[in-house]
């Protein structure tokens, strides 16, 4: 049993069956290599081995924006609430936080920033195209 955040809610998940169809990507992996296997997977996991390793953010966006992945995209590894807002913008919807980080308290961090200048997965049009003139 493990706690994780999924679609901005804390859930507990029982251990997955070993034959569950999960793709796991490390930071150096190229999402293009799994692009034709995305249909019907249980989820894609992207590992963030270090607090400051930002490669997975690009992987997230590519999976969503370029390879059209619609299923669960889970960030795992050294993740604290400080990452959540940006990770969500890059297409992640599930998060396994590092040990010691309380997922209930972390939920507030999704609202760290209420806007974003840039285009991203959650805001496909950048702020300058959304401003009401």
């Amino acid at each position: 049993m493990a706690m994780l955040i999924k679609e901005r809610r804390v859930i507990t998940e029982s251990a997955p069956s070993p034959d569950a169809n999960v793709i796991r990507l490390e930071p150096a992996d190229d999402p293009a290599a799994v692009a034709d296997r995305l249909d019907g997977v249980a989820r894609v996991e992207v590992n963030f081995p270090k607090f400051g390793d930002g490669r997975g953010f690009s992987i997230g966006r590519l999976l969503r924006e370029r390879y059209g992945y619609k299923g669960e995209l889970r960030a795992v590894g050294h993740i604290t609430r400080d990452h959540l807002c940006f990770m969500e913008s890059c297409g992640f919807d599930a998060f396994e936080l590092r040990e010691g980080e309380d997922p209930h308290e972390a939920l507030a961090a999704f609202d760290d920033f209420s806007e974003s200048y840039q285009a991203s997965v959650t805001r496909p049009r950048p702020l300058f195209r959304r401003r009401t003139r």
């Binding site: 400051g52 490669r55 966006r61 807002c85 940006f86 200048y117 300058f128 003139r133």
Partner: protein
């Protein structure tokens, strides 16, 4: 001055709240040292040799008097009543208290200021020409483009955890006063045959321990594609930039390891996927941003003959510290922060207030910070120049040395910085003292002398005509000297260049004498006054300078022998 709209302000306020929470979690033991380090750095907070240091962003160096007064206030209330303008056009406070930083940031937010991404592995303050908007050779108003890049690079969700810091410079005039060739990305505005604005794009330049001149990867990028192209470069860098070794993590290493051609191909391939996408800029946005800048209400004036003003001392100041303006009857003025005996770039809270008064009265309430660590009043009426000069002199800000040897760029060095090998401020002062004769300085002519306290090169020593670098020899402070560096094409044909080391390093006490010898060699060999020190170095090479400094080979051998005997 760019004025925030409601969203700009909200994001800065939200950042203050976020950082307050992060500081509290750290103090409560919920964030590790390492985690908090990454977070505090992207809010400009370093833990320095003696105390924390807070680096406050001054986007593209543009500052209002209201902001400057707030900086004065903050430096009195939370620090020791002074600040240091850095080569990145930011302001550093050297003595804040960690617990008080969220409060300081909250105060800054009230005047549309912050310390966002002034450090850490993220986009840094985008820098530009300190004469933007007033230069006679202007191609575009770089402030507008810088603000567009500022917004795009602030809290970028994909690029907030880059392999390393990332510096973008944009130059909007013919002469390059923004040093675009020595930045991670350099953008030089150009117009095509039809007059359309675009950018020449350079990547992979930079100083630090591996100084490299950037390479052009695109000669002309039409402006609507600016952000998608930047995004493509950054995506390639974010994915493939090295993260295994901090000293190899800058984009210049990636460009070098892959070679510029392969790097360009990768960027172009990535760009092909996102080109013309929603991030493509639109004219309305450029207009919207431009309209949020306050503009000086210039009067219709005629140019004055400044040479006819016979006030002793004034002419020397005009010659060095007053610069041409695109509007007749106006001039740009540099307030020098390089008075001998004051660390370069340092300014007291009282001076900040007084400078704010000056700018209010004479320059539409705005000023700029130059990467040479001076302040610029960009819009002064020529008829007010004598008055401005008098007042600046009273304040100790009228040293007439712009472009001259004593206008030294120096990092804070060993007096403040935990990374330093050696002090830099006392070296700057010793050189200024040796060259205190103004006539002699003018005779030597244009010369950039830059000092860094270690190879991180915050004092840009590689691109000084004379560059001085603090090195550590068995725990002692020594100084290595380079000559022939050049920060960029400030005049036609003079491309950026990196200095060459002239030989073994020197003890601190010897540095001024060595500089004098270098100057002596130059004066003997220059063709005319118009040939600058750096031009002579490029024409005749470093050898004659070496000889002048170290003596001929025989003397060198003898000296080596003596040194060994002493050791």
């Amino acid at each position: 001055m760019y004025r925030y709209d409601e969203i700009d302000q909200r994001l800065v306020d939200e950042r203050v709240r976020q950082f307050r929470g992060q500081t509290e979690r750290f103090l409560a033991g919920q964030l590790s040292e390492d985690e908090f380090r990454a977070l505090r750095l992207r809010n400009g907070l370093y833990i320095q040799r003696y105390a924390p240091m807070l680096r406050i962003a001054i986007p593209y160096g543009l500052l209002s008097t209201r902001q400057l007064r707030k900086l004065a206030d903050i430096s009195r209330k939370y620090d020791r009543g002074y600040g240091h303008f850095s080569t990145r056009q930011n302001l550093q406070l050297n003595w804040p208290k960690l617990e008080q930083v969220p409060e300081m940031l909250a105060e800054l937010a009230t005047v549309q200021m912050h310390a966002i991404q002034t450090s850490g592995n993220s986009f840094r303050n985008v820098t530009t020409d300190h004469f933007a908007g007033v230069a006679q050779d202007e191609i575009v108003d770089s402030f507008v483009w810088c603000e567009i890049i500022r917004q795009w690079s602030t809290f970028h969700p994909e690029f907030s955890f880059l392999p390393r810091k990332f510096k973008i410079a944009l130059n909007g005039a013919r002469a390059d006063r923004a040093a675009v060739e020595v930045h991670d990305i350099g953008l030089h505005a150009v117009r095509d045959e039809r007059g359309e604005v675009g950018f020449r794009v350079l990547v992979g330049g930079g100083l630090g321990r591996t100084p490299i001149i950037g390479v052009v990867i695109r000669e002309f990028l039409p402006w609507p594609h600016l952000l998608t192209y930047l995004e493509a470069i950054l995506r390639v860098y974010n994915r493939y930039g090295r993260r295994d070794n901090i000293h190899k993590a800058r984009i210049k290493i990636l460009v070098k390891e892959r070679g510029p051609d392969r790097f360009r191909e990768e960027v172009e391939a990535e760009w092909a996927q996102i080109k013309d996408g929603p991030a493509t800029l639109i004219a309305e946005e450029i207009e919207r941003v431009a309209a949020r800048f306050t503009r000086p209400a210039y009067e219709r004036l005629a140019n004055l003959d400044l040479g006819a003003i016979a006030v002793p001392g004034f002419a020397a100041w005009v010659k060095r510290n007053v610069h041409p303006h695109k509007r007749p009857g106006y001039a740009a003025v540099t307030l020098s922060l390089k008075k001998t005996g004051v660390p370069p770039g340092d300014v007291t809270a009282d001076q900040m207030d007084a400078i704010a008064d000056l700018a209010d009265r004479y320059s539409f309430g705005e000023l700029r910070v130059s990467h040479e660590q001076n302040l610029v009043l960009a819009d002064v009426r020529q008829r007010d120049l004598v008055e401005v000069w008098r007042e600046a002199r009273e304040l100790g800000l009228a040293t007439p040395n712009l472009g001259l040897l004593t206008n030294i760029i120096s990092c804070p060095g060993g007096d403040f910085c935990a990374l330093a090998n050696a002090k830099s401020i006392p070296v700057a002062e010793a050189i200024q003292r040796r060259f205190d004769d103004l006539d002699y300085l003018h005779d030597i002519g244009e010369l950039d002398l830059n000092i860094s306290g270690c190879m991180n090169a915050c004092g840009h020593h590689h691109v000084g005509h004379i560059g001085i670098l603090g090195v550590d020899k068995n725990g002692e402070e020594w100084y290595q000297i380079e000559i022939g560096g050049n920060q960029g094409e400030t005049r036609p044909g003079a491309k950026a260049a990196l200095g060459k080391v002239i030989g073994p390093s020197f003890a601190r006490a010897d540095v001024p004498l060595v500089v004098e010898k270098l100057i002596g060699c130059y004066l003997e060999r220059r063709d005319s006054d118009a040939e600058r020190f750096v031009d002579v170095v490029h024409r005749i090479g470093v050898e004659p300078f070496k000889e002048q400094v170290y003596g001929n080979a025989d003397q060198r051998a003898a000296r080596h022998h003596r040194e060994r005997a002493v050791a």
